[in-house]
Amino acid sequence: MSEITPETVAAHGLTPEEHARIRAILGREPNLVELGIFSVMWSEHCSYKSSKVHLRRLPTEAPWVVCGPGENAGVVDIGEGLVAVFKMESHNHPSFIEPYQGAATGVGGILRDVFTMGARPVALLDALRFGDPAHPRTRHLLAGVVAGIGGYGNCVGVPTVGGETTFHRRYDGNILVNAMCVGIARRDRVFYARAAGVGNPVVYVGAKTGRDGIHGATMASAEFSEDAEAKRPTVQVGDPFTEKLLIEACLELMAQDCIVAIQDMGAAGLTSSSFEMAARGGTGIELDLDRVPLREEGMSPYEILLSESQERMLMVLREGREAEARRIFAKWELDFAVIGRVTDTGRLVVRHGGTVVADVPVAAVAEAAPVYDRPCTPPPRPVPVVCHDAAVPVTPEEALLGLVGAPDLASRRWIFQQYDWQVMADTVLGPGMADAAVVRVHGTDRALALTTDCTPRYCEADPFEGGKQAVAEAFRNLCAVGARPLAVTDCLNFGNPERPRIMGQFAAAVDGMAEACRALDFPVVSGNVSFYNETDGRAIPPTPQVGGLGLLEEVDRATGLAFDRPDLLLVLVGLGHGWLSCSLFLREILGREEGAPPPVDLALERRHGTFVREQIAKGRVRACHDLSDGGLAVALAEMCLASGIGARLVIPDGVPGRFGWLFGEDQGRYLLAVTPEDAPLLLAEARAAGVVARTVARTGGDALILGDGPPISLDELRARHEGFFARLMDE
């Protein structure tokens, strides 16, 4: 075994102090395999060493939470003996290197996190951030990422029902690909990754192990082989077909009483899966690498342990049930191998070729994992900028046409048409149809509502308010379809945590999220942190992506964007102050990226959300949309486009600024379509509930009219809305 030099240690991303700690734990110098194990277990990705102290501040509990952070995915009760299992994860860097495979394997990974807990995956969402549309790579990255997400999700047969896509030059060198998966399981059949039962077999299932994505740091150590370059592709290739078989086989086995613990092999593959199972269960595990199904010849123990080959799972079975399990995996033509046992030694002992190649104490490694409270520079609190009507060189109609065709607001049809969002035949409201996707819980009258949200320009200006806003917008999008918001998953994408400014952004965003989650009773049950999203010292805007899940008890109440008829009244819920600071209007129309984002009043947010949900439950709301980017005018335009029916918006006398009234992004607001008969009741109940609500528009015709301005035909509006992607992607 080669000698461990300071260079080897550094190449494994470990500091000299961490190296010393390893020596103290082992009572000796680690060998290379052990160094590899520590390197991945103590990596930022696996250990959350920079984020842990902050993540503790997020609320994680509620009566309906069955399992919070710490397992493969979060679990919440959705009634009728069922639970929803969900999580979001990033695959940013791989998607930048190889957009198709990077995004595809991102989807594969998040699916495994969900079905490993015994849930059948029922929906996928994707939150994407690209660079400037004019940047030469953007088109290629966008095409590849979308094809990869579709290529994987469509093939496994899980509908991709929603997501988010925005563009900003600050993502030119660091795109974000965050994928969320939601599954449904029986409450009494949730599986955890906690090894138990000394002597129980440890079983490997799925695809064979190759030299995929082996920890980049190790490339530096020359002693592996001369042709290391050729032998070690760092890009993993996904095989959705095998994943589909793996889902079916695992769920079939889970219906039997064979499994003690199960864990997917994600980052750091066999190492982290076996380690985490043992750590959670307080046991030891013995592995025999000679029994691992391999795709290539001559793989070293180091490579086998650290391979990130996709579509693999590790299980602990009840002793004596191997044959039954093997039969199921044989039926699905998947590899199945007993590769080890659970022990009571508390150590991970790995053998290869008859000798022990690694022997490390599990609990000590987990407990001694470094935790850093890194220096934080609190972000400055920006001041709002004001924008007077006189400073706007365009008409409101021109501004609206500009906004609906802007990269961040244009129709995403080009994207979601490449996703099968209907497979499984339970998608009630798909992409482009509502503020949140609505997926029926198969065989019941219930439905889940799903959304992803974050407004990076707010987070950049003020990470605390931005973090709050991301949670509040998710909450609002769920309420807007009539769902009761239950819980949140997140994916916190930031720059280099070793820089105090970045760490300050992170801490503030987490604080903002925590405050909103607490106020809205909307706990975080799973999540993921992605640091080091920066190139040449330029970080992405802070992007704490939030994934929200809500529950509708009556699927028939699910409410979309589209009016179903003319002569409906549109009621605006919530009060606007014409907040244009940090708005999309300011950026797209006036070319100014500045000022404080709109503050979120969490008490109002909650009150308004509850009111909207109650009105929807009473069957009074024919269509609903929350107000977000682009404010009232854009929300109304989107509703008109979704329904093919026009509307006339009445601008009240005496508003301080027309542009602020039309395009301001004050938070906590909704637009509800109601019949003239229902409107008085709804308005009276609003008053009683302390909710500001007023009628602002009436549906009808085939144009959108802003106040006494000229009509904007829906055809023109649509051409602008659809034009951006058509131009960008079809030349």
């Binding site: 469509n154 093939c155 077909f241 033509e333 048409q417 209907q422």
Partner: protein, 225 residues
């Protein structure tokens, strides 16, 4: 109506198809595994569902078309049994030689999932008899390889024999003559790219697929096509 739906490795609309059939037929649908070497003796209808059998590797439907059960389905069809192939099921039927032509990559090369308008071109089949003549319906497509092609002679014969069951009004994939679905020579086999099973439940945005399944029910109750 005694119907069955086959599951191959990689099928993913098998449940959807069975649910839609059960909804319209009002009775349970058998589920068959691709490895089975015999069909149940008393079947009226076999459904080949959508999905990505064998990951669409080699050619969509190619590997599944060589399964033991497909040999039996070919025999069943030759005896006059009803066979419905949707999306990947259509691809399997062409690969198995039960239907002429082939389905290749969409002209724009992208996967396409959206609703399309179709015209029912013939009501003279056990799959379409419950539609009004010339009916226009809205049915979703979701595929990467739905671009139907066949040689000129085959296309002419399909037209002459009235075997084009459905035509796109807004062709999403470049199919020759806007073909969305075709009948076999005996009119007892239908392959189509759009997914009628996705529009059998008003909650999912439409019921335009129901007449297709009702046609089958009538055909079987009426003792043949």
């Amino acid at each position: 109506m005694r119907a069955a739906v086959v599951t191959f490795p990689g099928s993913n609309c098998d449940r959807d198809l069975a649910v839609a059939m059960e909804r319209v037929f009002g009775r349970p649908v058998r589920r068959l595994w691709h490895g089975e070497t015999e069909l149940p003796a008393d079947l009226d209808l076999v459904g080949l569902p959508g999905g990505f059998t064998y990951g669409d590797y080699l050619r969509p439907g190619a590997i599944a078309a060589r399964s033991p059960i497909v040999r039996e389905i070919v025999r069943f069809a030759r005896r006059g049994g009803l066979v419905l192939g949707i999306c990947n099921g259509f691809q399997i039927l062409t690969e198995a030689g039960l239907l002429p032509g082939a389905l290749v990559r969409n002209r724009r090369l992208l996967f396409v999932c959206r609703s399309v308008r179709l015209r029912v071109e013939t009501t003279d089949s056990p799959f379409t008899r419950a539609f009004p003549q010339g009916a226009e319906i809205t049915v979703p497509v979701a595929h990467h390889d739905g671009n139907y092609l066949a040689d000129a002679g085959t296309l002419a014969r399909l037209e002459d024999e009235g075997r084009i069951a459905f035509r796109y009004l807004d062709n999403p994939n470049g199919s020759a003559r806007d073909i969305a679905g075709i009948l076999g020579e005996g009119r007892n086999v239908l392959g189509m790219m759009p997914h009628p099973e996705r529009v059998c439940d008003p909650r999912l945005g439409g019921t335009d697929g129901v007449p297709l399944f009702r046609s089958l029910l009538e055909a079987v109750a009426g003792g043949g096509s």
